[in-house]
């Protein structure tokens, strides 16, 4: 898949939460093809304490409006600076990077998409893709509290949404792996993106349920192109680059203790 470096135009800036910014980017030309689960590396201007680009997962691609969405959690100086972008600003983006989630395997397959925190972001694009291509996605989203659940109307427009919150303010109280859905239904496969402890527990559930499971990692990275070998994850095939061979891995290829 050809990669590009482009100055995209900030078309809209939304603040769905005090810790998040949603950037809707566009270009004068049609945006290049991307796959759900791929990511971009953005250049942050005016951020003296950061040096490298920021890897950000693709939240959604709206082909009709020619928009690429990035849902960004404000963590450090770089992401805070990104939240200061204004409409019509330019953002230098290298993309699309990484492998992305698995394509549809068979018509009607039931795919559980588990997201935690900002890890929900790429599942919106993936869910839409699965739905449009004859699969049956089901979302299971976990957050600390009701206000941390973002884009719920957009998820709900695609497929059924099940929710857990740690404080019980929305959906079932607890963690995603405690949701009653997992005792009631079975799935053809699972894709998960979120904090590592959550992904480990989902991988454990998947192993027990004998369900294929892929996880999306977010190791610290520099180049995003598989050149610097900084973001490696230990796999059954040795150390591999999360930015190139990943970020999505079959859990059986990882060396996690599950």
């Amino acid at each position: 898949m050809k990669k590009y470096i482009k100055d995209l135009i900030v078309k809209e800036v939304e603040f769905p939460h005090e810790l998040y910014v949603l950037l809707k980017l566009t270009d004068k030309e049609p945006l290049p093809d991307t796959r759900p689960g791929q990511f971009v590396e953005v250049k942050v201007e005016g951020s003296p304490k950061t040096f490298l680009r920021r890897p950000i997962s693709i939240n959604y691609v709206d082909r009709e409006k020619n928009e690429l969405w990035l849902l960004i959690k404000k963590v450090g100086e770089g992401t805070h600076r990104l939240a200061e972008l204004k409409v019509n600003d330019r953002l230098n983006v290298v993309f699309p990077l990484g492998n992305g989630f698995s394509p549809v395997q068979k018509k009607g397959e039931k795919v559980l998409l588990v997201g935690g925190g900002v890890g929900m972001a790429p599942l919106l694009d993936y869910g839409k893709y699965l739905k449009d291509n004859g699969a049956e996605p089901v979302f299971l989203l976990g957050a600390r509290s009701k206000s941390d659940l973002l884009e719920q109307d957009l998820f709900a427009a695609i497929a059924p949404v099940h929710v857990t919150t740690e404080d019980g303010s929305e959906g079932e109280r607890g963690f995603v792996t405690q949701h009653s859905l997992l005792n009631k239904e079975s799935f053809d496969r699972i894709s998960v993106c979120g904090p590592k402890p959550m992904m480990v527990s989902v991988a454990r559930y998947a192993k027990k349920a004998n369900t294929p499971c892929e996880v999306s990692l977010e190791n610290m990275m520099a180049c995003g192109l598989g050149a610097c070998l900084c973001c490696v994850e230990k796999t059954v095939k040795g150390n591999v680059c999360v930015c190139k061979e990943g970020p999505v891995f079959d859990m059986n290829d990882l060396t996690w203790e599950i």
Binding site: I5, T50, C223, G224, L225, A227, C228, C231, V232
Partner: protein, 291 residues
């Protein structure tokens, strides 16, 4: 060379990773990822930490070994029409020599860059590069078996880099390149632990550029073989500094992570600067500092 811009080993993969962004043949030379006689898994993650104006890495020479390179990677890159140069590393004199001898057989590899300065491997690497005796011994061992252009990459983590450069020149090097990364460390104060898996790492990026320029200046005055300058070059102006300090070519490393097309931009920018200053070639400004 079609221009004096090369890529620093470990920052540009095998070149092909960047083919969507630049015409590889517009780059003067591509120095590919460090290659060792035997495959190396490298160090554990985390291998990278960002700093103000730079980064530290402790990749640890992860590569699949020289045989894999010859069989699987060389066929993919051998027809790229520029100087494809292999960075060779090792942990013993024998390993260095054997690895260099294998690369010597590859028709379309006109040169090697001998890495005697990697700070991220426990045995060897930098150990050879920090004493004149060690540097001399490894260059002599490789010179015996390697018949093409031999560039030796020097460490800045020494008391007198000019003395090391002289030792390397006397041992038969055709050129020196400098600097490799500066050894550094970053601590996570909440965990009270180093951020990097092996505690220390090599620092690169614009923060190290003044150190690199100083090293190039000292070495260029001491030796009479060509000097290749690198360390924090982000643009053509940075490159010009290195030429004035005495480098006749440069390498771009960490900047490739910020802008994958930076190499050709720097090459073009150097040409423009030379035109604006009435110079016909880089050669006219190499070492031309006003006293």
């Amino acid at each position: 060379m079609k221009n004096p811009v090369m890529t620093a080993s470990g920052t540009f993969g095998y070149g092909v990773e960047f083919a969507d962004f630049v015409n590889l043949e517009d780059i003067g030379g591509i120095i590919v990822k460090g290659t060792t006689l035997h495959a190396r898994e490298g160090n554990d993650y985390p291998r990278m930490v960002e700093t103000a104006s730079g980064m530290l890495n402790c990749v640890g020479l992860q590569n699949k070994g020289v045989d894999y390179f010859c069989q699987h990677i060389y066929p993919e890159i051998k027809d790229i029409k520029t100087n494809m140069i292999v960075n060779v590393s090792g942990s013993s004199l024998e390993d260095y020599a054997e690895c260099a001898a294998r690369v010597n057989e590859l028709e379309n590899i006109p040169a090697i860059e001998l890495n005697i300065s990697c700070p991220n491997v426990k045995q060897g690497g930098m150990a050879f590069g920090v004493t004149t005796e060690g540097a001399s011994a490894v260059v002599k061992a490789v010179r015996e078996v390697y018949k093409k252009t031999l560039i030796v990459k020097l460490s800045p983590n020494v008391t007198s880099i000019a003395d090391i450069a002289l030792a390397v020149q006397d041992a038969g090097a055709d050129a020196v390149s400098l600097i490799n990364t500066l050894m550094g460390m970053v601590i996570d104060i909440e965990k009270r632990k180093p951020v990097l898996s092996i505690a220390t790492g090599g620092m690169s990026g614009p923060a190290v550029k003044p150190v690199a320029v100083r090293c190039v200046w000292q070495v260029a005055k001491a030796v009479n073989i060509p000097v290749v300058g690198l360390g924090g070059i982000m643009n053509a102006q940075d490159a010009i500094e290195f030429f004035l300090a005495g480098a006749s070519a440069i390498e771009i490393g960490t900047a490739n992570f910020i802008d994958p097309a930076v190499t050709v931009k720097v090459a073009e920018g150097i040409g423009e600067w030379l035109d604006q200053h009435g110079c016909a070639s880089v050669g006219e400004i190499v070492g031309q500092l006003n006293a």
